[in-house]
Amino acid sequence: MNNISTTDSQGPLLTNDGVPLKDSLRKSLRRTKIRSFLLILVPLLFVLLLFVTPIAQLLSRSVDDIKINEAFPLTFAQYEVWEDKSILPSEEMFAAVINDIRITHKLENSEGKNIGKNLLGRSGTRMTYEYSGWRSLLLKTVKEAIKVDKKSKEEIKPYKWDAPYKERMIKRDKRWGKVEFWQSLGAMKDPYTMGYYLNAVDLRYDANKNIIQKVEYLRVYKTIWMRTLQVSLMVTIFCLILAYPVSYLLATLPMRISNILMICVLMPFWTSLLVRIVAWMIMLQQHGVINDTLVTILPCFEGMVNLPFFGATNIDLCFGDEDRIPMMYNFTGTIIVMTQILLPFMILPIYSVMRGVPPSYMKAAQNLGATPTWAFIRVYMPQSIPGVGAGCILVFIVAIGYYITPELVGGKDGLMIGNFVAREMQQTLNWGLAAAMGTMLLFAVLALYWVYDKFIGIDNLKMG
């Protein structure tokens, strides 16, 4: 719009209708903006409501400790005034627990439905995450605390248990006499917690809300994070090593031939992930194609040989049934299968960048006296870097959040963080921890996504 001169000898330029051209242009620009906005509106709302909201709620779940504060307000109030946290709290604290249980147990929602029992159960689960044993202890105590004296003649029948509670509770279950249980309340007293995040990296709160390491045998997640990183890096590197030469070949061959070879790259890309996993199971299992082939073709020689210097030696060069290599349901399996699955994600971006590198540059470099190798390293490789970068980030992003492949072929030592998110979601039902691990994973991916968008541009993504 800048190249239109706005002032003329006769004043501003006018359109046919007598409106200044500048105004008319601005108006039409605004109209196109509004039209574009209306076009985007529905898809944007759809994605915001049904994709962004669920994920945002998942994130909030990772710091949420509100429920337990609703269930035990008196107890947490008492916790604040509990002075010496190395000795058992006084009678008031025990009474607060019982009162909280009794009040919460009768809690109803606006429709008159009891929600208190559920709340107590969930609180017990939550407390177990801080110190194991809480859940059974709490449920046992709930059962006792709400018993009423049926023989009583009064309108509102009194509870069987009455003050003082301290001795009674410890007599019922000696865990109430353990100070560790009471100390663990400290980690839960705020409505928002970082506890799940700490848990996800093998840390925890102590009684005074200091962050400390978990007990040795409970430290599991750090290994998993490291393995996730290790698998993603290894897969990225292997993909790069395999993809770079192939992309170069595809980019330098005549279009007709490279298009045919491209089918080999695109066909797996388009084939169902599960099909590819099944295919690899056939290849890699104990009695799979690879092991069978090795057993069949490798020479088998066994016996005594008279070697120079060594004398008579027993040589066993057999690749028999007992030598079959375990390649499935372990770390190796995960790496092999993920490399094959993600290889097209590496080849395609590198290929599309290499296609744009003029072959004449290499020839010019050689003309100027460079050896072919030197010309390739100094002239060709730098120009292919954008493709390499794109491919590496893409493969790494996809690999780090992988779930299906490790779950099916990973066995025990090939599992990644995605599998543990699923495990916490579906089996242990520690949703807060699942959300915390998911959030950490999500931010790692989003950071890489940002880098990708910044340097390569997300709309430059090519798919086949």
Binding site: S36, P54, M255, V278, G401, A422, G438
Partner: protein, 301 residues
């Protein structure tokens, strides 16, 4: 291969080893898929090449196809003439295919419409927050599936969409949108806006102009995006595992449980059909690509 006369033996060796390496990598990519096909015609119950499957015998110098048959295909179709009782007859595969098809068709349609609308809107360079919205629309492709699935599970549980077909369709629509946005944006990048100006100059109404001029030109982009969305939905298993109820048995979910629990060659029959299906899709896409290049007057090379 003809080498120039000045080629040294070392260069020749390098050349051949380089080609061999590339050949091996390409083989690594396709070999597993090819292995599935013969094995799916096995007559045995094992997921491996058993001795009976040897086609050619060197001892008797004759061919032998006794180890092969269409048993597992029949089983997949729910036709059971197997009286040996080695396998459980189930119609889950057919139900799975039906469910997958229903979900994929609807999800593709919605993703196609919403993705195209978004791409059209985003093609306006003057639009504020253009880049941000673009990143947002593409994010379902980037966010790990397991996180999407977990988030949607909690959210859909609140609005009673868990274990329903509409819930799965919505989830798959969201997964498909980024692919449509990307392909349509790419085809819009090659679109000459002067065509629309010329049409407007000639007195055409905007809506008519869109359908008569812009739509046919970006159609290949829309269709290839829709094909992506279809294949993504048809192949999706993580979200189905989280959101699907016992009624929503899809093909990938059946394959998943086939791999995890009852390993039988029925999975291979399904896999073979999916491989053939993907070859068909790939061919369609390639034809679309050529067509769009021809329309725009760009030829390969």
């Amino acid at each position: 291969m003809r080498f120039p006369s000045y080629t040294t033996p070392r260069e020749k060796l390098w050349h051949y080893s380089y080609r061999t390496f590339c050949g091996l990598v390409l083989f690594f990519l396709v070999a597993p898929l090819i292995v599935v096909i013969p094995l799916s015609f096995t007559n045995s119950v094992f997921l491996q090449f058993v001795p009976e499957m040897k086609i050619f015998s060197f001892e008797t110098w004759s061919f032998n196809f006794d180890g092969y048959g269409t048993r597992w295909y029949k089983e997949m179709l729910g036709i059971c003439d197997d009286n040996t009782g080695t396998t459980v007859c189930t119609d889950r595969w057919m139900i799975g295919i039906k469910n997958s098809a229903i979900i994929a068709v609807f999800a593709t349609f919605f993703a196609g419409v919403l993705g195209t609308l978004a791409a059209l809107g985003l093609s306006n360079k003057h639009m504020p927050f253009n880049r941000l919205i673009m990143a947002l629309m593409i994010s379902p492709m980037i966010v790990p599936l397991i996180i999407t699935a977990a988030g949607m599970f909690f959210f859909f549980a609140k609005v009673n969409l868990v274990a329903t077909l509409p819930g799965l369709i919505i989830a798959h629509t969201i997964l498909g949108i980024p692919f449509v946005v990307i392909t349509v944006t790419a085809s819009l990048a090659g679109f000459d806006n002067n065509l629309m100006r010329a049409a407007a100059n000639l007195g055409g109404k905007p809506i008519r102009n869109f359908f008569k001029i812009q739509a046919p030109l970006i159609a290949p982009g829309v269709i290839s995006g829709a094909l992506f969305a279809f294949i993504i939905s048809f192949d999706e298993v993580v979200i189905v595992l989280f959101l699907g109820g016992p009624e929503q048995y899809t093909l990938p979910r059946q394959m998943w449980s086939g791999i995890r629990n009852e390993i039988s060659p029925t999975i291979l029959a399904a896999a073979t059909i999916l491989v053939i299906f993907s070859i068909l899709l790939l061919t369609t896409l390639e034809m679309l690509r050529r067509r769009s290049e021809r329309i725009r007057g760009v030829s390969p090379n």
